[in-house]
Symmetry: C3
Subunit: 316 residues, 3 copies
């Protein structure tokens, strides 16, 4: 696992181009920040790293859990801890923006953790599985709530694939910048996996993509967008960049639009804007999801699915 | 009446083209299914027929009430009966889609039945008329509710005119395919007729067309779309086809997007999506409508209007 | 002040072109109506004038408070009085439309009155300021509510700048016609000024511009649209005209779409449409705003801002 991880991160083509280094307005150190394993900027061990770029006034929450940034309980707890820390200490970050991204160029996040959706008959009763699932979903919803309510302006930099839960996390940010790449993949394909969408994810999709016949079809059909260009056209992302070098510049210019606003006015407005999504989270949303996840239909399907992915991984 | 009906349906140019017959994936029998009076596929007498195409995994609810598919109490009760039957027996139709369409190539439905909106001073007191109207609207709302909550994916195939109530029925489906034709007509023109729109129809329009200044104007001004091309551009329909032959293929390919999804996940998601529309139906919505329908202003206008239509029919 | 006012209005290039005078369908007298100081059409003294054009079936509420139509308590009370009058006497105006516009070609309204947002330490305690602010906001909300619920169809003719509160008033109308001009400026830039947006203004923006990622960014970033062309593209205005001469014709043709509808049906539909905005007004919305306006951060910022504007005015 460690080997795979090392390999993945070494493959990252990030480097601060010299042309940007001269301009103080451009958060050129973001590029450096995205470089993994820089011990001075790492607060927690691997799964989620918090990077800080003082000159660019940005924090980056970087998902770094090989191989695919699955949203495991451990990863989510680290994400939650980072976000709670930033929430609690917000007075220190009045002029900072937050970036949510991934260490890996080809994958942002594979979404929810299969193991938390599958009843492990060998180790737990079905009741225990239900409790485990509910705790897990609660943790995921809490991370989403923290992103939706954090006072820093938040930008998801979507590099590579971020289906289902990965897209949900991205939609909880104020803005999304997508990087054009053959591995780009985005969408709320929960239905295709066999999970229903609770109302707060509908609200989240509507407030990003607009509520209309097209968005409704996407949700019912578990539609996946397969290029950053299409994602821009449909509204899944707000900005499209064509290289890793362009990320820093664009993140910087987008963040400045937020950071130049008076802090209290902007953050209260953001809170009002996201309130209806936050209000529709809660135990009822998990009850709703349990209707599919707790069904025999889903359990069978997802076990087969997981097996298929494992076999594919072995073959590769 | 029967003569007119026979004539209308014989004029239907539907025929299964041989090129489609070879492909099992294409619900080519839909074309045959749309042919009226095939006794083997008729469960109920004329006004609404339920057709079944096993190979194409489709049921078609076909409005067949000459001359214009007015939504009379009898037609609505038949529609309700079909939908209740499909609701109750949904286990049999897990892999089926539902099509809502019309026997007549030039008219989908003329909308609500004038006779149910007019106080007949010769046969009833005003109080009796109010009760009759409320029962009628209740029946209409119930049909809409059944369409919005049915587990099968639903596609309205809009051929010809479907103003007002006809458009409402179409918007209650998951998707709309429009057939390009000079007789195409669609829109929520209730206001132009003199009826106000209760909040659930606003919600229905918004979740299809998007909520914005344009949609709001359309509702306030009783706007009618006069071509399928414009309907596609504005979002009234999701797909445009140019011939009856293309209907079957397109219905099939659209339905497959839904039917390939896990059943429970898709249907729960659909239910969550439509819940806010269903929740805003009910007696209050009928109270709201009664404010116009029960007014002297409306009663006078609608009587004149009906007379005009009758005179025009006589002249023709 | 009076001199400045006189100068401004004399500079108005309004004149009824002879080509329009012949057509009774065109409310050509609107142009004359927009001319200030015509005693026969003035019901109240200067700040807000109510003009009436019988042939064009229009009333015009014309903001006429030099130099920039700041929404002072006096102006708002006059606006409120005009709207209350039209509300109460609606039976007389069944076939009339209402235009909201400005006497000045370069400014529609500068928005809320700075003096009502600033604690005047010399004349009042902070508690007194809070009461004064709450009364003021209540007055502003009441004007918005009157516009949202008035039975006449309403069109805002946006000439010149109408940031913040000016845009809010415009969005409370059924439709907006913008006049192309170098001084055009529109947008909900409250956040940029340091005020947060209460939920009813979010709803108002969504029901005009659509609820999506773009609109959300505009609100959080206090975005200002700097040309009527962009305003049309983004949905801030519904129609763009290129000269004052075109205003009358376009207002007339837009109003006819509403006025040709049955009165009760149209007005009830309008009421249902705006109800959710009206419902989210009230004391809670003012509590919300007081969180920024009552803060030391805002008070300092706005005093500096006001000083800057004064200095600029002196230099000019």
């Amino acid at each position: 696992m460690t080997t795979l991880f090392r390999k993945s991160v070494r493959a990252l083509p990030f480097a601060a181009p010299s042309s940007l280094a001269a301009s103080p307005a451009v958060p050129h150190r973001l590029i450096a920040a995205l470089r993994p394993m820089t011990s001075s900027t790492t607060y927690y061990p691997p799964l989620v790293r918090l990077s800080k770029d003082l000159s660019a006034q940005t924090y980056a929450v970087i998902l770094s859990s090989p191989p695919v940034n699955a949203l495991t309980p451990t990863l989510l707890r680290q994400l939650q801890a980072h976000l709670l820390h930033l929430h609690a200490d917000q007075q220190s970050y009045l002029n900072h923006g937050l970036i949510l991204t991934s260490t890996f160029p080809n994958i942002m996040s594979a979404g929810l953790d299969w193991d938390c959706l599958i009843h492990n008959e060998e180790t737990e009763s079905f009741q225990d599985f239900e409790i485990r699932f509910r705790n897990y979903l609660n943790l995921f919803q809490d991370c989403c709530k923290l992103l939706l309510t954090i006072s820093m302006p938040t930008i998801a930099v979507v590099r590579g694939a971020c289906p289902a839960g990965g897209t949900v996390l991205s939609l909880c940010c104020d803005e999304r910048i997508g990087v054009s790449s053959p591995s780009f993949l985005m969408g709320l394909n929960e239905v295709a996996i066999g999970m229903n969408l609770p109302s707060w994810i509908h609200h989240l999709a509507y407030q990003t993509l607009g509520q209309n016949s097209k968005t409704r079809r996407f949700l019912q059909q578990g539609y996946l967008v397969r290029s950053a260009e299409e994602a821009l056209e449909l509204g899944y992302i707000d900005k499209l960049v064509y290289s890793n070098e362009d990320i820093a510049e664009n993140v910087g210019s987008e963040l400045r639009h937020y950071l130049s606003q008076p802090w209290t006015a902007r953050t209260l407005t953001k809170k009002t804007q996201n309130q209806h999504v936050v209000d529709s989270m809660g135990p009822a949303a998990i009850d709703d999801l349990w209707m599919t996840v707790g069904s025999a239909e889903f359990q069978e399907k997802v076990k087969l699915f997981k097996q298929k992915i494992r076999n594919r991984a072995k073959d590769a």
